[in-house]
């Protein structure tokens, strides 16, 4: 550290949001928000899902336009009307789902849009491959990444791709870099490397916005922290970052102790057991779920939980043997699984719902057969059935004829739950069921889960939000790249540290 003098970052406002408000239909996503992002500073934005962070960054990224208020970029009032004009203003958002062109090389990705050229035969401009490689290597070295510029991006790890995106942003002369949950899919040592990259960005006088659910990381990396709740800015402590428990309290409006600690349920007879659905782990791992049990499945984003659940559901690549209450079954399709009382709420709502169909039809899909009467659909019975479910789990508005597309995220999720709540479903597989829904809907979904389990159903609950898994589950399996690497039970040591240690081996 001593032989290299890091230039003292000069701190001055670069991107400023002034009195920004934004409504989506009846939802006030942002309510008179003012935030300043300084160069050479890491500014954390935290809050629960739906609190308004993502709307704010989408306004900076040119995806949404504010209803009122304005943005200042480098002191000038600037209208950012498209991702292109965001780029022109030096604002770059690095989203969670990264947009790298997998079939291109590292160099082509890093220099995308800024490919160096040279003259060919005196009158044509051609790509200058040599200087491309050179420039790429130079950019990546700054971020401690030493890879061959000719490697295909598809072959790199998630963390490496992330750095490639950051390098690309720098090549675009980004002055304000927004990292949207950059650590959700990273392991600890990768997070450490990312933090070094962020420090490097700071020293280059880039303004960095850092969005994360992991409060310990927020505490570790950020200089300033802004907390959002229900579209409003709750706290903005200049030059300080509040303690983790303080952050939690401000985000949720509750004290940490009030976070629900699971329902009181009686865990009964084994309902269902199976070998690990991946052939390579099948002999080592045997999973049992009992009546009334909520079994957590915790891991990082992309940790193999989705594939695990899909395999149990018969939607994996090969047929699975399972034992249901002592009866051996082979499931070859979701239809088989449903027939045997298993339902799946997939990780992306887009995979569970037909957006152009109505609420009624979406709820009916797996239940259709029970309403066919001599070839006709029994409309009266259907209406009673659907209305009952809509009422029971509080889907709003109470209009079964609305297309699902018109519902809010939380209500869409409830529609997927509703379809499994009637009929003979005894095991629900939930893949990140609360991802991207607002706080109210989240606790509602937890309640639905508790009620389902209390009636003797079993639940497998997969999530990368470790605190949430721990708070709602009776037992937790830690999963890394599809392998079960740990097993926590409420009867034993049961906290986030143990879980995180298990996940990281």
């Amino acid at each position: 550290m001593t032989d290299k003098i890091t230039p003292r970052p000069s701190i001055k406002p670069y991107a400023v949001a002034k009195h920004i408000s934004k409504r989506f239909y009846a939802t006030q996503a942002l309510n008179d928000i003012s935030v300043t992002f300084n160069t050479g500073e890491v500014h954390a934005l935290i809050g629960e899902n739906g609190a308004g962070k993502s709307t704010l960054i989408k306004i900076f990224g040119g995806i949404h336009q504010p209803d009122s208020g304005h943005l200042l970029i480098d002191g000038q009032i600037t209208e950012i009307t498209s991702p292109r004009s965001a780029l022109d203003a030096g604002v770059i958002v690095i989203p969670q789902e990264m947009q790298v062109v997998q079939t291109q090389t590292v160099a082509e990705n890093v220099l995308l849009g800024h490919v160096p050229t040279k003259s060919v035969l005196g009158f044509l401009r051609g790509i200058d491959k040599q200087s491309m490689r050179h420039r790429t290597r130079e950019l990546l070295r700054r971020f401690y990444l030493d890879i061959n510029p000719d490697t295909l991006v598809g072959k790199l790890s998630f963390a490496e791709r992330q750095i490639i995106m950051i390098a690309r942003a720098l090549n675009h002369e980004a002055r304000f870099l927004i990292l949207d949950e950059p650590t959700a899919a990273l392991e600890t040592r990768e997070v450490e490397r990312l933090f070094e990259v962020i420090e490097q960005l700071k020293s280059m006088n880039v303004a960095v916005a850092f969005i994360s659910h992991r409060l310990d990381e927020v505490k570790a990396i950020s200089d300033i922290c802004t907390i959002f709740r229900d579209g409003k800015k709750i706290e903005h402590k200049f030059g300080t970052v509040p303690s983790i428990s303080e952050m939690t309290r401000l985000m949720t409006g509750r004290d940490l102790e009030e976070v629900p600690q699971g329902g009181i349920r009686l865990i009964g007879q084994p309902l269902f057991n199976f070998d690990h659905p991946f052939p390579e782990h099948a002999n080592n791992h045997h999973v049992t779920i009992s009546k009334g049990e909520i079994l957590g499945l915790a891991g990082l984003l992309g940790g193999g939980m989705t594939e695990f659940l899909r395999s149990i559901f018969g939607a994996g690549p090969s047929a699975k043997k399972i034992t249901l209450k002592g009866t051996k079954l082979i499931l070859t399709s979701p239809a088989d699984a449903i027939k045997n009382g298993i339902g799946l709420v997939p990780g992306e709502r887009g995979q569970g719902l037909v957006m152009g169909l109505t609420v009624r039809e979406n709820i009916l899909l797996p239940n259709l057969d029970s309403f066919v009467h001599r070839g006709w659909l029994d409309k009266k019975a259907i209406d009673a059935f659907v209305d009952g479910l809509i009422e029971a789990i509080d889907i709003r508005p109470r209009e079964p004829n609305k297309t699902v597309r018109e519902l809010s995220g939380g209500n869409q999720q409830k529609v997927i739950f509703a379809r499994w709540l009637a009929g003979n479903i005894r095991l629900m597989l939930l893949d990140e069921p609360t991802h991207g829904v607002d706080v109210g809907a989240k606790s509602h979904i937890h309640r639905i889960m508790n009620e389902f389990a209390a009636k003797g159903g079993g639940i497998v609950f997969a999530s990368s939000e470790l605190t949430e898994v721990l708070s709602v589950s009776d037992n937790v399996l830690a999963m890394r790249t599809g392998e079960i690497v740990g097993n926590l039970s409420r009867n034993e040591v049961y906290n986030e540290k143990v879980l995180r240690d298990a996940l990281e081996g």
Binding site: Y25, Q28, G50, I338, K339, P346, V354, D369, G440
Partner: protein
Amino acid sequence: MQSVEQGSKASSLLEEETPSWLSNKKELLWGQMPFFALIVLCLVASLMSDRFLSPININNILVQGAVMTVIAVGMTFVIIGGGFDLSVGSTAAMSGIVAAWVMLESNIVFGLIAGVGVGALIGFVNGLIITKLDVNPFIATLGTMVLVRGLTFVVTDGQPVMGEEGLPQLFLDFALNRFLGIPYLVWLPLIIVIIFTWLLHHTAYGIRVFATGGNTEAAFLSGINVSRIRTSTYVWCGTLAGLGGVMLASRLQSGQPTAGGFYELTAIAAVVLGGASLYGGEGKLYKSVIGVFIMIVLANALNLANVPSHWQQVAVGVVIVVAAAADRWRHR
């Protein structure tokens, strides 16, 4: 503390309500667009030419629309199921040929069964290529379109199939005679439309077709056998193309290897004009029928106005592009 909680409750309540009138009004207006377009088209045509509303011309329009309606019904199933079928014109020709040939060899009933059956078989093959071999529907049916058309020439040597003394009179009467003043040829599509409206819009099967086309993954995860549903839509489409081909043979008094040329394009255009989404999962059967008659009436009106046939093609092309662009705009 209390006020904060109330605030959060109020805002989460707010979020639940999406104003329905806004989207509904837009839907209502756009949803009936094809119908208004047809009415306007008929009005303009009747003002331009007093021959338009003459019984002979109306009869013409209905008869021309009859075969295309039957084919468009099948096409609607395929498109709502998220697919595409270019082979219907060739299938119609093949079915007409087979029906005529079997009719000459044995009797009318076997002829009809064979003709429609060949259509169903071609549809089934399309379905298998698309679902089992996982070939893009556009390419798969482009292949069968060319293949089947080739076969029609191979089996007929390029000659019409009509025997020495022509096809059985009873079969030809179907295209010539009327019931209650309306040709039999027009009654049949009416029955077909009623049956298939029931199948598509009032049965569990119909909902599964919409779900499969709207979001194959979601349909699969809801326990729907999506391969079977998709295949079934091609079987319906082939069957109805076969029926259309048999009707055409009755009109043409022979099985013709060149019959049904460009029918696939007219049928697809009609379904899209009727508002079905080429992305699948959206559409109404009766609107496809309206789409068919927009195409037929447009051609008829341009004929009456003595527009040269090549300019007619240009006009039809413009209408299709405008309708498709309007559809995309609606989905913004």
